[in-house]
């Protein structure tokens, strides 16, 4: 396996060829904030929280999709990045109706945790407060669009791991929304296997078990990494 050496926050780090900056940083215990990324799923670079400064690049690059290059110099913590991350989180919090106090995922929410970690104690923007539906048509699960951050983890896990591709995105910009099948009620979906993987990978309270009450939804997204690892081993045998 060929090795790449690069500098991350003044620290020399070795990574495997083809490894992302994010994966290499994690291996060395350096945390870079993320929301849309989940180990075991493809990367999309959509949440923009993992943007890092790379010497020689005029643009900030997402650590999750950027491969380590030999000799590159990367900075993942700076006042500028902090400010950008805080503002991005503010935009997320103002976009839909993230009312932590009454959310099934209160205390177990990745958006809530990122806000705390990055010190976003308040939001400078107007809360947009769109009126969005809650689909409770499925036997076991519910989807509350008010809490969705459009990370597309559900779309990816359903397509890439379960192979059902029940989830997708509909609409554009601020009107974009996750849908099941052809925007039909989840309970009417013919492709959904009711496996619940989407619920487990959802970083917020958007997808939930119908039995959960406020703060009661504790998820285990790490199964994806384990499952993908096991599959890869089986294939290589």
């Amino acid at each position: 396996m060929s090795v790449r050496t690069f500098t991350l926050n003044d620290q020399l780090i070795t990574a495997a060829a083809g490894q992302s900056i994010l994966a290499a940083a994690r291996e060395h215990g350096i945390a870079i904030p993320t929301l849309c990324e989940l180990e075991g799923l493809s990367t999309v670079g959509a949440c923009r929280l993992c943007l890092v400064e790379v010497a020689g690049s005029q643009r900030l690059l997402p650590a999750c999709t950027t491969e380590v290059q030999e000799g590159m110099t990367v900075v993942s913590e700076s006042p500028r990045l902090k400010h950008y991350r805080q503002t991005i989180l503010e935009l997320f919090l103002a976009e839909r109706n993230h009312v932590c106090a009454v959310c099934v995922s209160n205390n177990h929410c990745e958006l809530q945790n990122r806000a705390v970690e990055q010190g976003v104690t308040h939001v400078r923007f107007d809360y947009l407060m769109p009126t969005l539906p809650v689909d409770m048509s499925h036997d076991r699960f519910g989807v509350d669009h008010n809490r969705c951050i459009l990370c597309t983890r559900c779309v990816r896990v359903c397509d890439e791991v379960e192979g059902a591709h029940t989830w997708d995105i509909m609409g554009r910009g601020f009107q974009a929304r996750v849908i099941t099948d052809m925007a039909e009620p989840w309970g009417d979906s013919t492709s959904c296997t009711s496996c619940g993987k989407c619920v487990q990978v959802c970083p917020t309270g958007a997808l939930f078990d119908k039995r959960a009450t406020a703060g009661g939804m504790v998820k285990q997204p790490s199964f994806v990494k384990v499952l993908q690892h096991a599959r890869a081993r089986k294939e290589s045998q």
Binding site: V44, G45, A46, C47, R48, L51, R59, L60, L61, P62, T65, T66, H83, Y84, T87, I88, L91, F92, A94, E95, G119, T121, H122, R124, F125, D126, L128, I149, L150, D168, I169, G171, R172, G173, F174, Q175, A176
Partner: protein, 553 residues
């Protein structure tokens, strides 16, 4: 068809033209079509039975349409605002002078038409017409004489830069794709022109589709691709129709296909139609759309030159860029490089619109000043009003105020002024325009066209639009203005693709030159604060905290 047959075809067609005592071209491009030129064409045909009356593409001064030219022997006269009932008079040449375009009209005499040299001249629906005008000669010459590397080299030497807006050196891009490893490669012509007020590519595709195909074939030969796609926005049905026709004609005659002009080079072209998303003009989103997926961009690198369509190395160029290729190959890199400025070579097509007398399509050498464009070619501002600003680059661009009108237009000078060359839309604004409103208009456009993938663009544009709304309604405070500026910076630097990264530009450029218009609507309003002496506190790092700044921790 071999090269010899191509030459013969052209020669035969030219002889046919010579034999015609009366030839009449009627613009059937979108601008004139919307002015009723289809009826004019019919009336001309009825008035000149037995003569050669045919559709042509865009002649330029779209606001004066329908436009018609009449060639009698060696004499050509051009008519404007021609209604069907005037057709017979135009054929006879006895018509009110109001409808005659003067041969010395500066609108035409100040232009240099290279990319659009056949636009408005040839019949875009006949291959033979294009060939008579010289179409595919450059392709034949390249296939006969040049190695692929030489083509890239010539293009690099010509100084041609991407006409889609970013201005990346075309030859360098071609070389990257040529050198990319992998058997299958693709060429894509980006005709998803979506900026409000821009219609350069539409005119080229409608008026001279074979020019685009020729550029694509040369590109395919240069980079080692045997397959090309033209991605045209669905709002351009005429362009789609004519390109479809051109591809079929060229394929049937062996100019495209298994054996291009009888050589071993194989090149197929398919037309793909967009479904109305502006973001599909962004190359990675466009590629996703051709692949059949949702038109959303992905982070770059990897660039399409390495990982493009279906994961293969892909050359993607704007339509206007590709339309400049054949003339460069034919007349030489040095000739092209002799036109324009040191960093921006050749000519650029602009779509002139807004508060200007002559709205329409123009092509001028790079380095022409905005003043020449607006006042000499454009005929100035109607109604005796003063010019306030020229907007270039559409929703990714900015407003250039009156005091910089003498700036020569090239990539660098426009960037220095806080705008961009962009694809070529140029909107002239007079003193009655509110610049805050202009910024709000473009922000609304970006908000509605954001694909929704990344949050800075998806929500940032909504928030910026709200803040602009608030300023327009005179409800905003100085804090709101500061927040708007901060958000512009964040969205610009954190958005995933060019749409979001450039969405703040119209705000930033109007703030740069017209800040007083923003401030006039705010009138020093501040958020209510204490009338008492603020509490003096020491923050953790030992410095005195600024009490009015709010709760940062």
């Amino acid at each position: 068809m071999t090269e010899a047959e191509l030459m013969e075809c052209g020669e035969k067609e030219r002889q046919r033209f010579e034999a015609q005592p009366l030839r009449i071209g009627c613009c059937m491009s979108s601008g004139c079509l919307s002015n009723g030129s289809a009826a004019v064409l019919e009336a001309l045909r009825a008035s000149a039975l037995g003569s050669d009356v045919f559709p042509v593409g865009c002649m330029g001064p779209c606001s004066r349409g329908p436009l018609v030219w009449v060639r009698r022997g060696s004499e050509i006269r051009t008519y404007q605002q021609l209604r069907p009932e005037l057709a017979a008079r135009a054929v006879e040449g006895a018509i009110d002078p109001r409808h005659v375009v003067s041969p010395d009209d500066p609108f035409f005499s100040r232009q240099l038409r290279i990319v659009t040299s056949h636009c408005g001249v040839i019949n875009p629906e006949r291959l033979e017409d294009a060939v008579a005008g010289g179409a595919y000669r450059a392709l034949a010459q390249v296939l006969r004489e040049w190695e692929p590397a030489r083509v890239c080299e010539e293009l690099t030497r010509s100084g041609l830069r991407g006409r889609g807006g970013a201005g990346y050196p075309t030859g360098v891009k071609w070389n990257l794709v040529r050198k990319a490893s992998g058997g299958q490669k693709f060429v894509i012509a980006n005709g998803d022109e979506g900026d409000p007020g821009a219609y350069m590519d539409r005119a080229v595709m409608e008026s001279d589709p074979h020019r685009v195909l020729e550029g694509m074939a040369i590109a395919g030969y240069a980079v080692g691709a045997n397959h090309g796609f033209i991605y045209v926005r669905g709002e351009y049905p005429t362009a789609v129709h004519r390109l479809d026709m051109a591809v079929k004609q060229a394929t049937r005659r062996g100019i495209l296909g298994k054996s291009v002009l009888g050589t071993k080079f194989e090149f197929h072209v398919e037309v793909r139609i967009g479904a109305g998303a502006f973001v599909c003009g962004e190359e990675t989103a466009l590629i996703a759309s051709i692949e059949g997926g949702r038109g959303m961009p992905r982070p770059r690198p990897p660039y399409p030159a390495d990982v493009g369509l279906f994961g293969k190395p892909t050359l993607i160029n704007n339509v206007e860029t590709l339309a400049a290729v054949a003339p460069i190959c034919e007349r030489g890199a040095d000739w092209f490089a002799s036109i324009g400025t040191p960093t921006s070579k050749g000519t650029k097509v602009f779509a002139l619109s807004g508060a200007v007398v002559n709205t329409g399509l123009i092509e001028v050498p790079m380095g022409t000043t905005l003043r020449e464009i607006v006042f000499d070619i454009g005929g100035g501002i109607p109604g005796g009003k003063r010019l306030k600003a020229v907007q270039t680059g559409g929703p990714s661009g900015g407003c250039i105020p009156e005091q910089f009108l003498d700036t020569p237009v090239d990539y660098e000078s426009l960037t220095r002024l806080g705008s961009i060359m962009g694809s070529g839309g140029m909107i002239v604004m007079d003193e009655t325009s509110s610049m805050v409103d202009v910024a709000r208009f473009f922000m609304e456009f970006c908000r509605d066209e954001s694909c929704g993938k990344c949050v800075p663009c998806r929500v940032g544009t909504v928030q910026m639009h709200r803040l602009l709304d608030k300023i327009m309604a005179e409800q905003a405070t100085l804090e709101d203005l500061a927040l708007l500026e901060d958000l512009c910076d964040v969205v610009r630097h954190t958005s995933l693709c060019g749409l979001g990264q450039s969405a703040p530009n119209p705000v930033l450029s109007t703030l740069r030159y017209f800040r007083h218009e923003y401030e006039a609507r705010i009138q020093n309003r501040r958020r209510l604060t204490s009338t008492r002496r603020p509490l003096e506190l020491v923050s953790v790092n030992g410095s005195v905290a600024a009490p009015a700044k709010g709760g940062s921790i």
